[in-house]
């Protein structure tokens, strides 16, 4: 019988291992334009999240907060491989997905602040930050609850014959929930155009993956359903992009689902008040040295997709956008109390 393998952990497996068969292994195939795109998306998410952190420091963000800081390359790489008309399903750690998919940062920040100009009119906040018209199916506070919804959206794409695809983000912890198997199986038997994106940051809150996952990778679980899978460095937007591109192609051509495990790491704690003392220093250091923004910036510079000046200009431009968005959000009004009753039901035609 097959024997149990050494468990996965944040230090030992960090982004090194690749299980992809047929993955484009060189970034040569990626155009310069795409490298700039990846740099821009990664940085945009970073700057957005840093702003959120600032606003939180100013006590302007109610409730809790699951920052995407550290994992930017995943959202950037995945969304860079999608069309605007494609869909993403987000999680409780959703800011990055939404921003990278092209949501309006003004509405997104206003939502985090609970303003009526927010994308959810202040009803959702951090855990439900969503912009439907940007192709976000929803951020959800219930871990793993997005998977069946993504499967269904993919079924809808298939039935409507639109060639749209769905990328569904979820965490390593989410893969222990029952919906994981149900959804993967459904996607496999119906050959749904969905790409399962595991953001393996090696922790679910304070619980290290070694306590809850017996295998070397989450990707291994995809094989149970004959779903092609791979493990990539989730801090390298190019790797994420390439793997996604292949999966998107397969999905669009009717080849069914794929699973991509992106190994990455949270720069901060799980949520707003978590100092994350449970993580070994060497592990934290290892990952902080693999910064997502620096990584893509270095690649882009090295491949001469960007000059240092261009990189700086992009940063300045993005920073300005973020600042304007924050200004908008801060200045926006809170909803009126009676709005609590709105939007429970849609009007019957």
């Amino acid at each position: 019988m097959a024997s149990a393998s050494k468990p996965l952990s944040g230090v030992t497996n960090g982004g090194a291992q690749k299980l992809c068969v047929g993955q484009v292994d060189s970034i040569m195939a990626v155009t310069k334009k795409k490298l700039v795109d990846l740099y821009t998306r990664t940085l945009k998410v970073r700057l957005f999240e840093e702003k959120v952190w600032d606003l939180f420091g100013e006590n302007l963000v109610p409730g809790t907060l699951h920052l995407y800081l550290g994992q930017e390359a995943v959202a950037a790489g995945v969304t860079a491989a999608l069309k605007k008309s494609d869909w993403v399903q987000s999680t409780h750690r959703g800011h990055g997905h939404v921003v990278a998919k092209g949501a309006d940062m003004k509405a997104a920040l206003a939502e985090l602040l609970g303003k009526r100009t927010g994308s959810c009119k202040g009803k959702g906040g951090s855990m439900h930050i969503t912009e439907f018209k940007a192709g976000v199916l929803g951020a959800t506070g219930v871990v793993a609850s997005g998977l069946p919804i993504a499967a269904g959206a993919a079924l809808s794409c298939q039935m409507r014959g639109t060639k749209e695809v769905v990328a569904c983000f979820f965490g390593d912890g989410a893969s222990n929930n029952g919906t994981f198997g149900e959804s993967l199986n459904m996607s496999a038997i119906w050959k749904l155009p969905v790409i399962w994106i595991v953001e393996n940051n090696f922790y679910a809150m304070g619980t290290p993956i070694t306590l809850t996952c017996p295998s070397q990778s989450i990707a291994q679980r995809a094989e149970a359903y004959c779903i092609p899978s791979c493990v990539v460095d989730g801090n390298n937007a190019v790797e994420v992009y390439e793997a996604t591109l292949e999966a998107v192609k397969r999905a669009r051509e009717g080849g069914g689902p794929s699973l991509i495990e992106c190994q990455t790491y949270r720069m901060r704690g799980h949520s707003r008040f978590d100092p994350a003392k449970y993580r070994p220093k060497e592990e934290v250091d290892f990952w902080l040295s693999k910064d997502a923004v620096e990584t893509i910036q270095n690649i882009a510079l090295e491949k001469k997709a960007l000059t240092k000046k261009e990189a700086k200009d992009i940063r300045r431009k993005l920073q300005k956008e973020v600042d304007i968005a924050a200004d908008f959000a801060v200045k926006s009004e809170y909803p009126e109390p009676q709005e609590v009753l709105d939007d429970v039901f849609a009007e019957v035609a």
């Binding site: 959810c120 969503t130 609850s145 809808s156 039935m159 149900e182 849609a346 019957v348």
Partner: protein
Amino acid sequence: MPEKTYRDALKEGLREEMLRDERVFIMGEDIGRNWGGAFKVTKGLAEEFGDDRVRDTPISENAIVGAALGAAITGMIPVAEIMFGDLITLAMDQVCNQAAKMRYMFGGQTSVPLVMRSVFGGGKNLASHHSQSLEAWFMHTPGLKIAVPSFAYDVKGLIKTAIRDPNPVMFFEHKLVYDRKEEVPDEEYLIPFGKARVHREGDDVTIWGTFLMVHKAIEAADELAKQGISAEVIDPRTLVPLDRKTLIDSVKKTGRLVLVTEETKTGATTAEIAAIVQEEAFDWLDAPIKRVNAPDTPVPFSPPLEQVFIPDKDRIISAVREIV
């Protein structure tokens, strides 16, 4: 007018909507050509509409509802079936946290045109896991509409309305009424949500109930009439929205109310109705509102036990006689 069974009327409603709008599709366990649904409601539909639009699923209740939800918000109109109401326990997150709340928590960005069909009730000796009546849970979940048809005429008109509603609708049926017949027109008709059906008019007492208990209430009313007691029988047809007016007006006329459902008593829909009526018609009530329900136990298997578990005509009559 032709007589049709509840089952056939329901199937007709589904079929008409599938013909009308190709976005409508059905998914669930064993609803397809090999079985046609555990209660044969969808029999023949796979043959007519194909296996894609009448889609057999794995035994994955939470994913069935979740996938239907995902399809609903991206341009389809799914009718998801959970084979037994007892099994919605496995899909409560997708039903109550996702489908019910999605429009609200996303600030109205999407609507959720989703119907979830399932079946409640005992009477077939199927024991604790296949006999419950859990509609109260969903009535307590803002964002869901709830249809509870008890008659063939109603089930057809209501399923069509449910499918056209842009909101998540829990469409609950009852095992023991599938074979019941009623006149059902061949022409298209819709029944609006939130409009009760008054089966008997009366002056002495109002009886409000759902599902099989509507039928029992009618029998009780007929027998009470012979005893000189005139009972009004109200079937709400939908629990959300709820037709309060028909009920309150009736209580203002009769001054007395008996509520009867097959649910276990504590926390049943009858509790809510009692609370509403005493709030809105306190001064018109001449006696306490009586609740006739199942006892607070799981549903037992053995026939003599199940028989006392499910309220019957006699218990309704006794309750009426206690307050009239």
